[in-house]
Symmetry: C2
Subunit: 330 residues, 2 copies
C-alpha cells in the first residue's frame, strides 16, 4: 500500500518551489446530501462510496499561512497548544509537505462556521490549508490534485475547494489517485441551507470513530453502498432537473439511513438528542403544511435544513437561531 | 400456497367437537428480546427469522367466550361495533374456526396491559381467543398447534401461550406447519420488565405497515436476518447462564437495530418521540452509575426496561409511572 507521504512526494516531484512569504485563502464548509460513510483505506481516507455535497458559501475557513522558524497554529485568534488534538492532527498533516529543507508553518485559521459543533469546520479547514500550501510553495497544482491532498487531511475536505454542488468519486485505485472531488455545474441560485444547532456537550463518540465502528460492527452497513449508488443517481438527476422535492427528500432519507447504520453498530452510536427529534418533527410538520423544507444530519446532534429562498421567512420564524448559508455566496 | 383456512381445517379434521357453553381463559402479553421483524408469508404470518420473548406475567388478556346467536365483542367491558378495525380483524379470524354449523361467538376481552399503546395486547388477545376456542369446542389441541393457530391471528400471539421465555421458530415449510413457539426452561425468577409509557397520539404507521414497508423498501433490511441469528444464540446462552448483562445488552442492541431498519425505509418510519430519547438516555445514565438496567422497544414510542428485582426501587424512583411485570407471575 502507498502511504500519504509517498503519494504526495510523487505529485510534488516536478513542481516548482517558488516560495511566498504569506498567503491568505478561503474554503467553504460543505454538507453532504449523500453522505461519506465508511472508508476502504483508513490512512489515505479512501471512501467505500461516492458522495455528493453542497457548499456553505460564506460559511467556512479563512486561512493565513506563512513560513516561520517553528510551527505555530492559531484558531479564531487563539494560540493552539501543541498538546491539543487539533494541533497534533494539523502538525501530522503538515509533516507530509515540508519539503527537503523541513520548513515550518504559521497557520492562522478563522472559521465563520461553528468550530467542532458538527458543522464541518475540519473539511473547510484542511481544504484551506492545502490551498494555502499550494500558493505558499508556488506549486500551481491542478484542482484534482489539491482535492486529493485535502482528502488526506480530512476525507470530506476534498469537497471543500468549490462553491455549489460537488461530487466526490470513491475511485478504485489502491493509491487513491482516482479518488477526488469535482464541482457539478448548476445555476440553482435560490437554494439555501440553514444550520439548526442543538445545544449539546462535546460528542461522546467522534465521527471518525463512529464511522469505523459502524463499518466494523453494524450488521446493517452491508446495504449502505447500494443505497448510496441509488441516491447518487437520484441527486444528480434532481440537480440537473432543478427538482427541489426530489433533492430534499433523497438527502433526508440518505441521512436517516446513515444514522440507522450507526444505531445498529455495537455498541450503538446515537447522536440524536430529544431536541434533534423536535427539529425533525418540526420540519415534517412544516412540510405537511405545504412548506418545501427538508433536513439532513451529520455525525452529531445538529440538523441542517434545505430550502429555497422563497421559504426563508418561514424557516427563520420556526428556527430563529438558524445560521443561513447561500451555497454560491463568496 | 396453503391458506389459513385450509391449514386450520386440516388440523381440526380429527378433533372432537364437544362444545361447552362458556369458558374463561388468560394469556400473558409478551415482549420480544429478539424481535419478530419481517414476514416471509403475509397471510400465514410466517416470519423471516426466529424470535425470542419474555412474557409479562399478570399483564395480558382475560377472555370469556361463549357460543351465541350472533357475534358480539366486548373490549374492557365496552361493546365493539362491527365497523371498528378490531371487530373486523377478530371476526375474520373467528371465521376460520366456526365449523360446519357456522356458530357465532360472544367474546369478552379484558386487558390488564394498556390496549393498543404498543404494549402487545393483540398478542395476548389472539392467544387467549385461541385457547378459549380450544376449550369451547373441546378440541384438546397440543400447545404447538394452538401456537400455530394464534400466529395466524397475530404473529407474536404464538409466543403468548406461556409464562417466562419463549422461542418462536421461523420454520421452513410453506404451510407454516413448522412455524410455532415453545417455552424455554428457566428458573430466572428475579427478572422483571417495566413498561414506561410515552404520551403520544395514535400511531401514524401501524406496526404491520411498518414491518412490511421496511422489508419492501429498506436497503438496510438485508443485514437483519444475520444479526438475528447471532442475537438468538447470544440470548439463549445468556438465559442458560443467567447472565443478565449479556441478556440486557443483546436485547437493547437488537431493538436499536430493528428501529434502524425502519428508519432506513422509504418513507422512513420513526416511532421515537423526544420523550423516548429522554428515557433511553436515562437508562444509559443509570447504567453508567452502576444500575444494571437495559431497554427494549417495539414498533411504537414506548420503552420497556429490563432489570432484576433488586433494582426495583431505583427503577421506580426514575420511572414512577412504570407498570412493572413479573414474567412468572400468574
Amino acid at each position: 500500500m502507498m502511504s500519504c507521504k509517498e503519494m504526495i512526494d510523487a505529485c510534488l516531484r516536478d513542481c516548482p518551489w517558488g516560495m511566498r512569504d504569506t498567503v491568505s485563502v478561503y474554503a467553504p464548509a460543505n454538507i453532504a446530501l449523500c453522505k461519506y460513510w465508511g472508508k476502504r483505506d483508513l490512512e489515505l481516507n479512501l471512501p467505500v462510496t461516492d458522495s455528493l455535497s453542497i457548499s456553505l458559501g460564506a460559511l467556512g475557513s479563512h486561512c493565513t499561512m506563512s513560513i516561520g522558524d517553528e510551527d505555530a497554529y492559531f484558531l479564531d485568534g487563539v494560540w493552539v497548544t501543541p498538546e491539543e488534538p487539533f494541533a497534533k492532527r494539523l502538525c501530522s498533516f503538515l509533516d507530509l509537505f515540508r519539503g527537503r529543507d523541513g520548513c515550518h508553518y504559521r497557520v492562522e485559521a478563522v472559521n465563520t462556521v461553528a468550530t467542532a459543533a458538527g458543522f464541518a469546520s475540519s473539511a473547510s479547514g484542511f481544504a484551506a490549508v492545502v490551498m494555502a500550501l499550494d500558493q505558499l510553495h508556488g506549486w500551481r497544482l491542478d484542482a484534482r490534485t489539491l482535492s486529493i491532498f485535502a482528502r488526506m487531511g480530512s476525507g470530506s475536505a476534498c469537497r471543500s475547494l468549490w462553491n455549489g454542488f460537488v461530487h466526490w468519486y470513491a475511485g478504485k485505485e489502491e493509491d487513491g489517485s482516482d479518488c477526488y472531488a469535482e464541482p457539478l455545474h448548476s445555476d440553482w441560485k435560490d437554494l439555501r441551507v440553514g444550520l439548526v444547532s442543538v445545544d449539546a456537550g462535546p460528542k461522546s463518540v467522534s465521527s471518525r470513530e463512529a464511522m469505523n465502528r459502524t463499518v466494523a460492527t453494524s450488521a446493517l452497513y452491508g446495504g449502505w453502498p447500494q443505497q448510496v449508488d441509488q441516491d447518487m443517481a437520484t441527486l444528480r438527476d434532481a440537480i440537473a432537473a432543478r427538482d427541489f422535492q426530489a433533492l430534499g427528500l433523497c438527502a433526508e432519507q440518505n441521512a436517516m439511513a446513515m444514522h440507522a447504520t450507526m444505531m445498529a453498530a455495537r455498541p450503538a452510536v446515537l447522536y440524536w438528542q430529544p431536541a434533534t427529534l423536535e427539529i425533525l418533527q418540526a420540519v415534517w410538520s412544516m412540510r405537511a403544511e405545504g412548506v418545501p423544507l427538508y433536513f439532513t444530519m451529520d455525525a452529531g446532534p445538529n440538523v441542517k435544513v434545505l430550502f429555497t429562498e422563497d421559504a426563508r421567512d418561514q424557516v427563520l420564524l420556526k428556527f430563529p437561531d438558524a445560521q443561513l448559508a447561500n451555497p454560491w455566496e463568496t
